[in-house]
Symmetry: C2
Subunit: 198 residues, 2 copies
Amino acid sequence: MSYEGPVQDLIEEFGRLPGVGPKSAQRLAFHLLTMDAADAERMAKAILAVKERVRFCARCFNVSEFEECRICRDSRRDSTVLCVVEEPRDVMAIEKTAEFQGRYHVLGGAISPIDGIGPDQLHIKELVARVGSEEVTELVLATNPNIEGEATASYLARLLKSMGVRVSRIASGLPVGGDLEYADEVTLGRAFSGRREV
Amino acid sequence: MSYEGPVQDLIEEFGRLPGVGPKSAQRLAFHLLTMDAADAERMAKAILAVKERVRFCARCFNVSEFEECRICRDSRRDSTVLCVVEEPRDVMAIEKTAEFQGRYHVLGGAISPIDGIGPDQLHIKELVARVGSEEVTELVLATNPNIEGEATASYLARLLKSMGVRVSRIASGLPVGGDLEYADEVTLGRAFSGRREV
């Protein structure tokens, strides 16, 4: 049982996207059917444009329209501090906080032996090269606070401390607006061990 | 704070789709970034194809690649029974049950005064014309079992019974595999009033 050609094709294309199940794919396809032709065309063009025009920054591996990304090109950013993240979307999340004025290095994932991802599959040698050649004095490890992210942070800390840079890890603890009662024990434990004098 | 041009454009395009929030739109856009160029192109083409090649069946208003849809073209379908549904996706849902061998009529929605949708905004006059001109003897009203769908079914029942066709409404009751204890009272009430001798 399937829809007529093009509708079924589109449902299948949408169904390949992450987090889009068969019902959602169908809903999206029917929404497109009722959209203006101009809007649908704009979406198709946006998909093609992103593949044609977007690449990864040659320096930090963030997404970029040019050889180097917007942040690497910005001379006002502090080039002595590098924030190391897993994915380009982590760069955007940190940029939104406006807490960080330095530059970034995107690893392209985290160490995960189960998925066959070791240090060689990540942009770690490029990070080491940058620490060696740029004026970096401080590294902030902002990989995710989960098993893979912590393993990656530990690995990088060991590797990079020996190069004479200061290395820090972003804090784990209770989320702001959260409720102590509902926090899981690991997070609450981290909140305690990471307590600071006020 | 936004991504470089094309990435931001694509996030915004995805964000316009129903049920896709800002976080999902971002995740989808980044997924597309890492997809093969050929896969992305296939998706863009599927979007354009659906707008170019898909229209609504001239007879029943289901989606169709041709003047008439696959079901209206199929001479093996029983043309004496019409199943009336709100949307093309309802046709597919009923087809999957393999319980119905007749033909369909898609209203294009349900009566909803709050949204400014009355009988004139739906394909009701076309339904009346079909009942008058085709060999229809029975109508199954399969609009949704919610306020708008029930109102539409009542309206159609009143209108069409006078034309001398048998009119039935699909059953409401407990979903199969459901649990009596967790059913809402309206559904449970319907299950009782709709009980059948066994």
